[in-house]
Amino acid sequence: MHDFQIWLVTTIGGRSAIADVMRTAWAWPIAESLHFLGLCLLIGAVGSFDLRLLGVGKRIPIAAMHRFIPWGLLGFAINITTGTLFILTEPDQYIYNPSFHFKLLFMTIGGLNAATFYLTSYRRVFGPDAPLDAPRRAKVIAAISLCAWIGVITGGRLLTFYRPSACQGQQTSLLLTCAP
């Protein structure tokens, strides 16, 4: 795993044309602002849908509320794009950063959890005779979703406090948390 991380950082290198643009005075702050706007779209759409499943605004048909989800996906797409720009520019600041590892972990949980929702609860929640109160399973999924995305925000916000320092001696953890 360490070898993979080092290979990844070396391969990305941070020496592309994209990295050059990102190092101009305005590019990085603008990309960060877009990353925060994307976050708000994601929470506004996915978070609101989760809250609806948990019982907020019970008079709103769940299927109607689901129409907000494409805007959450738009926010997610914005953040994947801007996030990729950050990694392409400063790969070692992310690949070796434990906070980034947690962020990826929570993103994976959020993604698998959403997949579980569409595989197990979609029909019961959206059918022609769908109840206004979501089934228990959907509520559990919604609660996990909210926690996962809050975890993603936390991992992202704490990145700056876990910047990797130089490695001293043999690294023994599963993931590299220092820069070799």
């Binding site: 702050p29 609101s48 605004g57 907000f68 936390t154 916000r157 406090f161």
Partner: protein, 173 residues
């Protein structure tokens, strides 16, 4: 560099020094994290209401979105409290930067807009019936929704730029 006695006093308080000096993750990093989470819910729910007004998710009864307003306000108050703590931590950094006042102005405008929007939204529909069709949305309400989205986008951008535009970090520096 001249010293502002009030800012110097704020920076000398134990609370200010805890916010920026404590090695605890619950101090500066934790407060900053809460500020981002509160933003997600306050701006996110506000944006969802604005988008509904502008035609997204048309089968959502607009009036019923008022049930989400307490969460919007919870996010707002979380950010008011965490924001004041961050301000106590770095008063000079924020208060000597014009962009900080721009951010506060945009947030104030956005909150005034959300209050006006929620009043108009609550005035629409009977509320008791489960009719998915609300009365047609006035162009005035649409304009408020567009203004709200612009104010939030501006507030977030201004907030992010604070890290790049300050002239002076503390009274000592």
């Amino acid at each position: 560099m001249n010293i502002d006695p009030f800012l110097a006093w704020v920076e000398s308080t134990a609370l200010s020094q805890w916010v920026i000096g404590s090695p605890s993750m619950f101090a500066f990093p934790g407060i900053l994290t809460l500020h981002a989470i509160g933003m997600g819910f306050a701006v996110g729910i506000s944006a969802a209401i604005d988008l509904r007004i502008l035609g997204v998710a048309p089968k959502v009864p607009l009036r019923e979105l008022r049930r989400f307003l307490p969460i919007l306000w919870a996010g707002f108050w979380l950010n008011a409290v965490s924001g004041v703590l961050l301000l106590i931590g770095y008063p000079t950094k924020a208060l000597t930067n014009p962009v900080f006042y721009l951010k506060l102005t945009l947030i104030a405008l956005a909150m005034v807009l959300i209050v006006r929007i929620s009043r108009q939204v609550c005035a629409t529909g009977s509320g008791e019936s489960l009719s998915p069709t609300d009365p047609p949305i006035s162009s005035r309400l649409r304009n408020l929704a567009i203004a709200s989205l612009i104010c939030w986008a501006g507030a977030i951008t201004a907030g992010r730029l604070l890290a790049y535009t300050y002239h002076r970090l503390t009274q000592l520096h």
